[in-house]
Subunit: 317 residues, 2 copies
Amino acid sequence: MRAENFKLNLDGPRNLARTLSLVENRSPLRHLILKECWKLSGKARIVGITGPPGAGKSTLASSLIRQFRKGSKTVGVVAVDPSSPFSGGAILGDRIRMMDTSLDEGVFIRSVATRGAMGGLSAAAGDLVTVMDAAGFEVVIVETVGVGQDEIDIVREADSVILALVPGLGDDIQALKAGVMEIADIFVVNKADREGADKLVREIEYLLALSPARGEWTPPVVRTVASRNEGIEDLAGKLDEHHRFLRYTAGLGEKKKQRGTDKLRKLLAEGWEKELRKGPLSAEEEEKLKEAFAERKKDPYSVAEEILGNFTWEGTE
Amino acid sequence: MRAENFKLNLDGPRNLARTLSLVENRSPLRHLILKECWKLSGKARIVGITGPPGAGKSTLASSLIRQFRKGSKTVGVVAVDPSSPFSGGAILGDRIRMMDTSLDEGVFIRSVATRGAMGGLSAAAGDLVTVMDAAGFEVVIVETVGVGQDEIDIVREADSVILALVPGLGDDIQALKAGVMEIADIFVVNKADREGADKLVREIEYLLALSPARGEWTPPVVRTVASRNEGIEDLAGKLDEHHRFLRYTAGLGEKKKQRGTDKLRKLLAEGWEKELRKGPLSAEEEEKLKEAFAERKKDPYSVAEEILGNFTWEGTE
């Protein structure tokens, strides 16, 4: 498709799927699509689910989808989780098919392949959420496995973040990547029928008591057995509560505002890196500089000044 | 001091201390100093020590200093650790004074206050190492507490990285920040007379066996009781071995080369951020953009294109 002829079309699952693919695969049309989508977006409620592998995040997501569908809400899902059954995995895949989501136009699930370049993943996931939002889904769920900085950055953009944990995974919660505890708005102890659930709940509550206060919101700890749909209503209730809290405290508006400038910063960093790669820091140039620095013929401070001095900003006169 | 009159002087502890302060406090003379120092640097052997609080990193550093002094090597220390006794702490401070390092011109210890802006810390620490290197210290030890990304970035620049652990801190080693295990060239189980030392050694060896191979170097695990100077000769031996390995495989040259371009990238990112702050992303402008994005009057993709389009690179024709 040529850029001149481009016309955004998000009607129906096939058009939506095609648009998502263009964005995910970094098509040259990507920015055209995203500019249009940005205008249409900003209405969806964005729910992040993260947690270690094996915490049952996808089962939890499935249960939440069903819960939202009961309330007739349309739901889009962006799953950034290599182990996610949404990505075609085995056992739980059946459960999802059972839900007949493939026949339910109110639900659309997209899984993102984890690429080598993790830096691009969080940008891509955010863009896919924007497209789903623009397509009119009332709720967009983003699922990531909470192991890398990039995955944390992805869910950080959600309105509400659920951190799913399970008893007896062998890791105490201190083993979680630094920063994960801090972004959770709601803790879920999933598979709560397992031994050790009480201990895990106590540990979370203990850690929460130690953490610095976060305004007026104290993250609740919800017990679920997602595979049997237990505790899901409670969880949905807490999600609603958090959403009302955000609205009430203007936190929601702040989050939405922040999302735009965060995106801008990412785009600028990307563009600047590309600019450097074209000129002063091309692979060849970088190799030469490495040698010159090591031999002390040049120093990085002078070279940085020179490169920065050669960039000029024309401003907006 | 005016820039025109500036003359680098690293002779004796007072001049060195003054120069380090100018660099640490971001004096306008900083880049002048660092350019001169860069030319003189690149000769020191840089040893990083990191690990969780309570692992005895400073005692370990003291023991290593003594060991290097036995071989008549001069030693500079940059301690980036709020809990470090080098920063004026209690008990161990005595031990260090016992060593009469204050009277020994072959040893110079500098502690860096952990500032709020952690982003600047790794840049500052690297610059202090460059100054120490330029001042002619044969060994420069960098000590950081291995908890944040920034601290990890600091030791990553060392030729050899020691990761210090202790038995019975209550955390199993999986609780270490992701990325710490990977940068260690030598593991130290300090306070190895404590219960649980064998278990910890086994855990490390097990994890090492699971990790992807790193060329021909297999990180050894050394047991020490630094407070009684036990195992320090063994540790120094392993350090020498690693240094020889780096020389032999040309890894040392690669590390030194990488350091220059890493520094350049940091300086460029800093300069670009400053440039943005002056113009298109001033605090005021950013606030306006936030509103416009949230109200969907503008989109980050178009604004990024506009800003990037207004930067021009003049190249080196």
